[in-house]
């Protein structure tokens, strides 16, 4: 490495260590930029793909109040996608390129959305567990070293905790309801618990990006720390619902002051990451289809904007023609 480069990197790391925020115009190592683009775009894609399992129940929500709340929640997720694509754009990559990568299967999104939503209770479990797990990660990211990402997270986190409460309240209603409803809730927890734990990623020993990301303060906690934090916060909530967490090894450990829990099925984890989850193909196809079927709309909007611009210019040249051109 040439000395000038080395000095820049040392300076950069010093800023990170002093907890300064890095802004778009600041110098940054290529690898830092690449890591952020990868992480922010994955996050953006997750918000957008994440609309699908919940969108699956919008038309079947069991009351009008629930329908409105679910629609509003999914709309928030679309908004999160927009902020995050915006944050990625500050690093010099546009949304269209990122979407191409997603549609080509080259970009990742959170594997949790490759699981199916099979009952109304899943709208509760997703809000409670999936948004709940996302919050653990995102609260940490409000202090991430890259300014635009940190600021996007501040906005997003407020909405995510609202989503989590909304999901929990759906389950609470079911658990206070009939036996059939309670069973629906338990079944849902059984299906979502382990995938939710997998949201934090591979365990620290197997995580390739963690160490460098921690040094750059993109991440401030390891996958395992966040997972533990999530379990500790969530188990008492399951108890309050009267539901059983589907992990026979789950037990409070006084010495550690944490819950002990069973081994995650890492074979399943990697299998879903590789594309073999129950809904990987469907989710991607749904996004590709929406994009392709929307192509003529986007083209038309652009063509119309150009026409307008042109007419405006013609009008400026020939103001007397205004009436004709507008007509």
């Amino acid at each position: 490495m040439d000395p000038k480069q080395k000095a820049l990197e040392a300076q950069f790391q010093a800023r990170i260590d002093a907890d300064e925020k890095i802004e778009p115009k600041d110098w940054m190592p290529d690898a830092y930029r690449k890591t952020l683009i990868r992480q922010i775009s994955q996050h953006a894609h997750s918000e957008v793909v994440g609309m699908l399992p919940e969108g699956n129940w919008v038309t079947r929500a069991p009351s009008l109040r629930r329908k409105v709340a679910l629609l509003a929640k999914i709309q928030d997720e679309a908004g999160h996608g927009l902020y995050l694509y915006g944050a990625a754009e500050t690093l010099g990559i546009d949304r269209e390129t990122l979407l191409e990568e997603l549609h080509a299967g080259a970009a990742k999104y959170s594997s949790i959305f490759n699981y199916p939503s099979l009952s109304w209770a899943d709208m509760g479990a997703i809000g409670w567990l999936v948004d709940g797990a996302a919050i653990m990660n995102q609260v940490m990211l409000t202090r991430t070293s890259y300014g635009p990402y940190a600021r996007a997270m501040v906005r997003i986190c407020k909405e995510e905790s609202f989503h989590q409460r909304q999901g929990y309240e759906i389950l609470l209603t079911l658990c206070r309801g009939t036996e059939a409803q309670k069973q629906m809730a338990q079944d849902s927890l059984n299906r979502w618990w382990w995938p939710a734990l997998m949201m934090f990623g591979p365990s620290d020993g197997a995580s390739t990006h963690t160490e460098q990301s921690m040094r750059w303060r993109i991440k401030r906690k390891t996958n395992d720390e966040l997972r533990q934090q999530f379990i500790d916060a969530t188990v008492p909530q399951a108890d309050y619902l009267g539901l059983t967490v589907p992990d026979p090894a789950l037990k409070w450990n006084d010495e550690r002051d944490h819950y002990d829990f069973g081994e995650i099925d890492w074979a399943e984890f990697w299998n879903v990451v590789k594309g073999n989850g129950p809904c990987n193909r469907e989710r991607l196809q749904a996004r590709v289809k929406a994009h392709e079927q929307g192509a003529w709309v986007r083209e038309a909007a652009m063509a119309y904007a150009e026409k307008r611009q042109q007419r405006q210019e013609e009008r400026n040249i020939n103001p007397r023609g205004l009436k004709n051109l507008a007509g």
Partner: protein, 251 residues
């Protein structure tokens, strides 16, 4: 009179519910993320309006039915929405055209309902008109943008307009319920709304470079409940699934 008022509120509420439901089918599948959000916004407004209107309908009826009883436990024959709003989404051109053809009517309808003699309906309308004004602006803009966009978008829009035109007559068709509402000072005169509607639609279609279909037969039967299309049953099968499969529970 009470029966007519109940029917009238069902019409208003069902229009909002069914169209809001249709738009919500787009959620997560829109052509652009921004439009996904915008359509969800409209769906949210409409389902929100439906809640107020059906709740009020239940009160007027006076036999203890709630908004959810009305939404989830009536079959096709009990629904009072116009045929236009129950038509399937089709492509984005059909969705936008359906929205515009409805919004243009709905806007003038609610402008008039702000002066209704019924205080509660007046209050609902006062709140809804702001939303509906935005809906009309949104759908008008997209009519123009897509009508006057590319060759393909123009063709798609013209096809959608040709498909949906026959459902526009019902919007301003005067039925017995409308006459009773007009006499009571509750509902607007549909003749005058028809004039405003035709004018607005012609103006936007002209700007969108679209041909207004002529001489088409107008279908009706939705708002009287005499004959809905086959589409409504499927919509309700989805909308009502949970309540039908697990009767009598709180959600």
């Amino acid at each position: 009179m009470k029966q007519a008022f109940f029917e009238y509120l069902l019409r208003l509420g069902d229009n909002a519910l069914v169209l809001g439901h249709r738009l919500s089918e787009w959620c997560g599948h829109g052509p652009i993320l921004e439009q996904d959000i915008a359509m969800t916004n409209i769906a949210l407004d409409q389902v929100g309006q439906a809640r107020s209107l059906l709740q009020y309908a239940g009160q007027v009826e006076g036999s203890g039915r709630t908004e959810d009883n009305l939404a989830y436990l009536r079959d096709v024959g009990g629904y009072r929405n116009v045929l236009l709003v129950e038509q399937p989404n089709g492509d984005f051109a059909h969705t936008i055209t359906r929205q515009f053809l409805f919004d243009a009517f709905n806007y003038f309808q609610y402008e008039a309902l702000r002066h209704s003699r019924d205080e509660h309906l007046r209050a609902i309308s006062e709140k809804s008109i702001k939303e509906i004004t935005y809906h009309l602006r949104y759908s008008s803009e997209w009519m123009i943008r897509l009508g006057d966009g590319t060759e393909e978008s123009h063709q798609r829009m013209q096809a959608a307009l040709d498909d949906l035109w026959m459902y526009t007559g019902e919007l301003t068709e005067v039925t017995e319920v409308d006459e009773i509402m007009l006499d009571a000072g509750i509902g607007p005169g549909l003749h005058s709304i028809k004039g405003l509607y035709d004018e607005k639609v012609s103006a936007i279609l002209a700007e969108a470079t679209l041909q207004q279909p002529t001489g088409a037969w107008m279908q009706s039967g939705g708002k009287t409940g005499k004959m809905h299309s086959e589409h409504l049953g499927h919509l309700l099968a989805e909308l009502q699934f949970v309540q039908r499969a697990y009767p009598g529970m709180e959600w």
